[in-house]
Subunit: 283 residues, 2 copies
């Protein structure tokens, strides 16, 4: 595995490997869900670049940029074991040099769900992803469906800015007990981790209710709130039942909807989601 | 000259002509200053694409989008006479399809000078230029120094977003009597046109004063104001004497400075600028 630590070297390498090039952008501390993206790229692409960059632009001033988990040595071993072609480690001072000024705004959809409490988050994500696309020039880029809203923001940016990259996705991956995989799970104590299972449980309860015919969003939302709130250390940020592309809140589930959660468990801000569909025998 | 009227066709053509490709983005109603950009591209590049697109995203709701001058037939003749390779005429509904959401913000420098009264202008310019870069994938792109602030915004975007395009420029070009060339000069009546010469005159007066040793910005600014205000139909929007890259206002001219003006003459909003330098025998 080649390790590249400068933007210029990455650009030069990419110019000679542009055909069938896959990019997996990450912030490191790699778990199975990241590796599923890498495996998919390795399988489908001629060569694969994995970037690790903890992007300061997507963290608010009171968020966990400084404490975000890192384990580069371990990440490197995991990527080597999969036979990743390139690990790209751009230095922050090259990504955002002194006097940096340019940011990408994807209106409307960036302002909902996570965008309400994290007003700079999607601007930071879109900006760094566009920069990585311009540096690496991949044909394919891989993102997880756990970050559903992020995925929609990136897809919208790709379409709107006429970018010549195909976005590929991997479904949300859970631990055996159901907790959605996340680097931030490392913040959880044993007790908090048990509480965190409430997120997945609440999604299942809502799905079951919907299967039984309950389509009222206020009823479903209250039920989700109850299930989560039964667990100590939980602090609900939002429970959204919305259109999976516009993120407009629904009153009632007619067809497909996204149920998305953001909950603080201890100091870990966790997100989870599921796509639900009303199955109607009459339609 | 090939005329291309769809983004997809433009993308395909560009993929086969990417080496040494030059792009001249315009809003049409071409005058000598546009043609100077085209000539420079034709001379320096292997092939040249000129785009004509009146970009709605850079006009405010009360601005002159609907009345912006057009003469496609004449533009086409002028470009053909120069042996331009491609005239690209992207349809507005393809550039900004329904549900379009993504905009580029170049902070700080977009908020000064023209950015104060035209708050969406540079966001619209940066967005459409980035889109054109992504569609056409030029190696070189050509812009005029009359739009000095726009040029700095584009240069900053290119550097910040790691774009693989080289920006080339052509100095501001004036009519024989000194009026800076602009498509908006067509809005001027005969009397207004005479008044509009006050912009150039005022810049010359300021330059002469500076050459005589006057470095105080308040003094120079007042003198410029006096010269312009002597002309009827003029309404000064700003007179800025500032750093040519950050656009921070100066108190005194020590080295290089930009003197930039925006003045309404009748209904035409005109801009003009000059770079001045204090020549000191002692330094």
């Amino acid at each position: 595995m080649k390790i590249i630590q400068s933007i210029q070297e990455m650009t030069e390498w990419s110019r000679h490997h542009s055909v069938g090039l896959g990019l997996v952008p990450t912030m490191g501390f790699l778990h199975e869900a990241h590796l599923a993206l890498v495996k998919k790229s390795l399988k489908e692409c001629q060569s694969t670049v994995v970037s690790i960059f903890t992007n300061p632009a997507q963290f608010g001033p009171k968020e966990d940029l400084d404490s975000y988990p890192k384990d580069l040595e371990n990440d490197q071993k995991k990527l080597e074991a999969l036979k990743t072609d390139v690990l790209f480690l751009p230095p922050p001072e090259e990504v955002y040099p002194s006097g940096y000024k340019t940011y990408i705004k994807v209106k409307d959809i960036s302002e909902r769900l996570c965008g309400i409490t994290r007003p700079v988050f999607f601007e930071g994500v879109a900006t760094v992803v566009l920069k990585l696309f311009n540096i690496v020039r991949p044909e394919f880029a891989f993102f997880g469906e756990k970050d559903w809203q992020q995925l929609e923001v990136i897809r919208t940016m790709v379409r709107d800015l006429n970018l010549d990259v195909t976005i590929k996705t991997v479904p949300l991956i859970r631990e055996p007990d159901g907790l959605a995989m996340s680097s931030r799970n490392s913040y959880l104590s044993g007790e908090e981790r048990r509480s965190a299972l409430g997120l997945y449980k609440s999604l299942n309860v809502a799905k079951d209710l919907l299967d039984q015919g309950e389509t009222s969003v206020p009823v479903l939302r209250e039920k989700i709130r109850d299930v989560i709130a039964q667990n100590p250390f939980t602090n609900i940020e939002y429970i959204s039942i919305c259109d999976p592309h516009t993120f407009e809140e629904c009153d009632q589930i007619f067809q497909k909807a996204l149920i998305a959660l953001a909950v603080k468990v201890g100091k870990a801000r966790l997100i989870d989601n599921v796509i639900v569909e009303r199955i109607s025998c009459k339609d």
